[in-house]
């Protein structure tokens, strides 16, 4: 039996502890926001800094001098940007050519050794890949592929293959097998059925996998570092060189250029990708 005044006391206690936990959570979120936005702010400040020396808390001279330097058509940055985009697009093409058939075949439960094949494509993400890259570089050196575009594209494609295959398996699994059978029964050939019935249904998932492969290729550093250098200069390599030379303005502007597609795609994918969905991947 709870007396009324007891109940009131209990409620008061509950409200107080609730209010306490509200403020505690607010403080936690605030600290997290500071920790997340701090480094990004610092990067943004460096892009518009002209000089910044030790005792000053903020840059002593602001300006866009380095932006002109970067976007000058003869600068290293525009060349690297073009190389990076070219490599990323070609990597997406290679990955799609290879993984659309594989994804379609693996989406069928009747596929023999299905688990084995799925795990095989997981391997490039399950081992520390630095050692592999240095040995690929040594291998490519013998075939004259080191420092060439095809060499870098191959390395990026193998790295992106896991994303493209796993996501396209999920995409093809969600297509309706009845439509496929209906098309076949009405006399359409297997290729006609695949391109007109199956592929359009899987298109959204395939586009998502293209985005992942594109981003992975654009941001890839280690593989390009071993296989591409010194002839191929992508944006990440340029960023690294500029940063190591202490040229933080150029490095920060390059980093900002790399951030644009990442944030753009995050906003797009944010609409499609829910944590609940991620837990169903690979089933």
């Amino acid at each position: 039996m709870i007396y009324p005044q007891h109940k009131a006391l209990l409620d008061k206690f509950n409200i107080r502890s609730l209010r306490f936990s509200f403020w505690l959570q607010c403080v936690f979120i605030l600290l997290l926001a500071l920790a997340l936005f701090g480094p990004i702010m610092n990067l943004l400040i460096w892009t518009v800094t002209e000089s910044w020396y030790f005792p000053h808390a903020l840059p002593s001279q602001w300006g866009f001098k380095y932006w002109q330097q970067v976007f000058n058509p003869y600068s290293d940055v525009s060349g690297s940007l073009f190389t990076s985009l070219l490599i990323a697009v070609l990597t997406v093409v290679v990955c799609m050519i290879v993984s659309i058939p594989a994804g379609y075949a693996l989406s069928k439960r009747s596929m023999p050794l299905r688990i084995f094949w799925m795990l095989l494509f997981l391997i490039p993400q399950a081992f520390p890949n630095l050692t592999v890259y240095m040995n690929i570089a040594r291998l490519f050196y013998e075939f004259g592929l080191n420092g060439t575009l095809p060499g870098v594209i191959i390395v990026h494609s193998v790295h992106g293959l896991m994303f493209s295959i796993w996501i396209s398996v999920a995409a093809f699994s969600s297509t309706d097998p009845m439509l496929e059978r209906a098309s076949r029964n009405l006399g359409a050939g297997p290729f006609y059925t695949f391109f007109h019935i199956v592929l359009p249904q899987a298109a959204p998932g395939l586009i998502a996998s293209c985005i992942f492969v594109f981003l992975e290729s654009l941001d890839e550093f280690t593989g390009t570092f071993f296989v591409g250098s010194p002839n191929i200069s992508t944006l990440p390599l340029l960023l690294y060189t500029a940063s190591m030379e202490g040229n933080y303005q150029i490095a920060s502007i390059t980093a900002l250029i790399l951030l644009v597609p990442s944030i753009l795609f995050m906003v797009i994918i944010h609409k499609f990708m829910k944590p609940e969905m991620l837990s169903k991947l690979g089933k």
């Binding site: 509200f22 936690f28 979120i29 997290l32 926001a33 920790a35 997340l36 701090g38 480094p39 610092n42 990067l43 910044w52 005792p55 808390a57 290879v98 058939p101 594989a102 075949a105 069928k108 596929m111 094949w117 095989l120 494509f121 391997i123 993400q125 399950a126 081992f127 520390p128 630095l130 050692t131 592999v132 240095m134 690929i136 191959i154 390395v155 193998v158 293959l161 097998p177 496929e180 059978r181 076949r184 981003l215 941001d219 550093f221 280690t222 570092f225 960023l239 690294y240 190591m244 920060s252 980093a255 790399l258 951030l259 995050m266 944010h270 829910k274 944590p275 969905m277 991620l278 837990s279």
Partner: protein, 282 residues
């Protein structure tokens, strides 16, 4: 029925997989095996342990340092991502959880190299972090220290990997049966107790997967140790790159690679064993 149709469409499904499998085989598995082979043989093909010995003699400090960095980062990651995911699942304040859900995903697609550059400026002696402390009166300009070094590497790894591991863990929490949590609430369990006794035991496998994947990522990122870890000791990845670029010494670099596989395998094995033990206990 469905089986016959799919077989009809795909007379020989192996042909569809062959190109992808060949690519992984030639450009990943072959170099992987070659690195193992190169780590334990001399140029004439005879088996030797001298490369491993040399790797340990020169870099045992760095190997130890790498393990410590990875373990600390993973521990912080686990605590932080469970806290965030639990807040999102259990907190009664909807507006706060929405903000949090947006916030933690922010670094998901930010590349490692960009993170490294951000941290290189943020954590430096004259970085925004120290300047903010000085401006708020917590430190004087003379007391500031640069965090570039082992602590900077840990901060960078945690900053970048937090989004990924929280995404996996909050996904697992969202997939849990909601009625269990509601039943526990109705029976008077506190939120903390629900987290530790109902939610955590069920998401342990996902937590393990997230941590193992994070470890593999940390062991293969080259840009962070190169850009943040100034001076010695440094991480093994930086040593491998140095060994190759400065000496062209593939044997010792591959021996270090072998050690890094062993560390990953060891941690993965530890996770599997814990998992099996729990299954055996039930």
């Amino acid at each position: 029925m469905r089986q016959t149709t799919s077989r009809h469409l795909l007379k020989n499904p192996l042909w569809l997989i062959a190109p992808a499998a060949l690519m992984v085989g030639i450009f990943f598995l072959y170099p992987l095996c070659f690195s193992l082979y190169s780590a334990i043989t001399l140029d004439d093909g005879s088996v030797t342990l001298s490369h491993l010995n040399k790797a340990f003699a020169l870099y045992s400090n760095d190997i130890f340092f790498t393990i410590i960095i990875v373990l600390i980062s993973v521990a912080i990651l686990a605590v932080l991502s469970i806290t965030i995911a639990a807040l999102i699942t259990l907190s009664p304040f909807r507006s706060l959880t929405k903000t949090l859900a947006f916030l933690y995903r922010l670094p998901l697609f930010i590349p490692f190299i960009v993170t490294a550059q951000m941290m290189r400026t943020f954590l430096a002696k004259n970085g925004l972090m120290n300047n903010a402390f000085v401006a708020s009166g917590l430190l004087t300009p003379m007391d500031t220290v640069s965090f570039l070094g082992w602590s900077g590497i840990i901060i960078t790894f945690v900053w970048k990997q937090l989004a990924f591991s929280t995404l996996l863990i909050s996904g697992a929490m969202a997939a849990l049966d909601d009625s269990q949590i509601r039943a526990a609430r109705n029976l008077g369990a506190s939120r903390l107790r629900i987290l530790f006794q109902i939610i955590l035991p069920q998401i342990i496998p996902t937590l393990g997967v997230a941590m193992v994947l994070s470890i593999v990522t940390m062991m293969s990122v080259l840009s962070v140790p190169l850009m943040i870890g100034t001076g010695s000791p440094t991480m093994m990845t930086a040593d491998m790159a140095f060994r190759i670029n400065s000496y062209g010494d593939y044997h010792v670099a591959n021996a270090l690679g072998l050690v890094s596989y062993c560390i990953c395998a060891g941690l993965a094995w530890f996770y599997l064993r814990q998992n099996l033990k729990e299954k055996g206990a039930n």
